[in-house]
Symmetry: C2
Subunit: 117 residues, 2 copies
DNA sequence: TTGAGTGCAAACTATTTGCAACTGG
DNA sequence: CCAGTTGCAAATAGTTTGCACTCAA
């Protein structure tokens, strides 16, 4: 399962992982998928992310990084841009909170959706 | 209902709004709360936000702004720090996506939680 | 009189959990 | 054998929806 997550750049839902996993193990249940994803997340080797009230998504990239989210199709893309630790501290100081880390989410319409219509 | 949302700095759940609303209208149902929040959101005067698989939250501050989220208690605080439009463009350019806006989420332990224990 | 808005309860969706069966070591 | 996994189905939690009803205009 970990391999499946690592092999995709999409940020799949549990449902997607389940479908994908079934190719090799036709009898795995969705419950097991959730159980194992939860366990992997507890070990910190996988991470659950949620975007605006939609289904939860999972990613194997647990290093700090940012995301781009398509307003139209909901696709999530990792940004290949270094996370700026100084920015965390600067923003935290300016806002009067003790922040340990931060995540930036860019929103817009992805290339694929722009091209349709 | 809009007044209730505007009057709080917390980012309440529908449940919270419901409870609060009941003080004045003891018979409102949760369904109505959801219905009206949805409508306000459609009008763009209110916004739904979700954090890490937990319950959806609502805020009346629809201007672009950033958030601090407490890792321990889940409290959400608006950051009084201007949103840097140039940063959106810069990050988008660097990552090769067309971003229209961005949101930064700071994570850490809030003052209240730090003081306990 | 009427229709927009409401309460209520049932429906839905995503996720979690209890439990008995199964399997590899 | 037996401890740990699993499938399955039922339970939960949050949210949405259908419908009959009410009340201000």
């Amino acid at each position: 399962m970990l391999e499946i997550l690592r092999a995709t750049k999409t940020h799949p839902t549990a449902e997607w992982v389940h479908a994908r996993l079934r190719r090799d193990m036709p009898r795995v249940s969705l419950g097991t998928v959730y159980r194992n994803l939860g366990q992997l997340a507890a070990q910190g080797v996988v991470r659950r992310i949620s975007f605006n009230g939609s289904v939860d998504r999972w990613e194997a990239n647990v290093d700090p990084h940012h995301h781009f989210v398509c307003d139209r199709c909901g696709a999530v893309v990792d940004l290949e841009v270094p996370v700026d630790g100084a920015l965390t501290r600067k923003l935290g100081r300016a806002a009067g909170v003790k922040a340990e880390r931060h995540e930036i989410r860019l929103y817009g319409v992805c290339a694929r959706c722009t091209n349709k219509r």
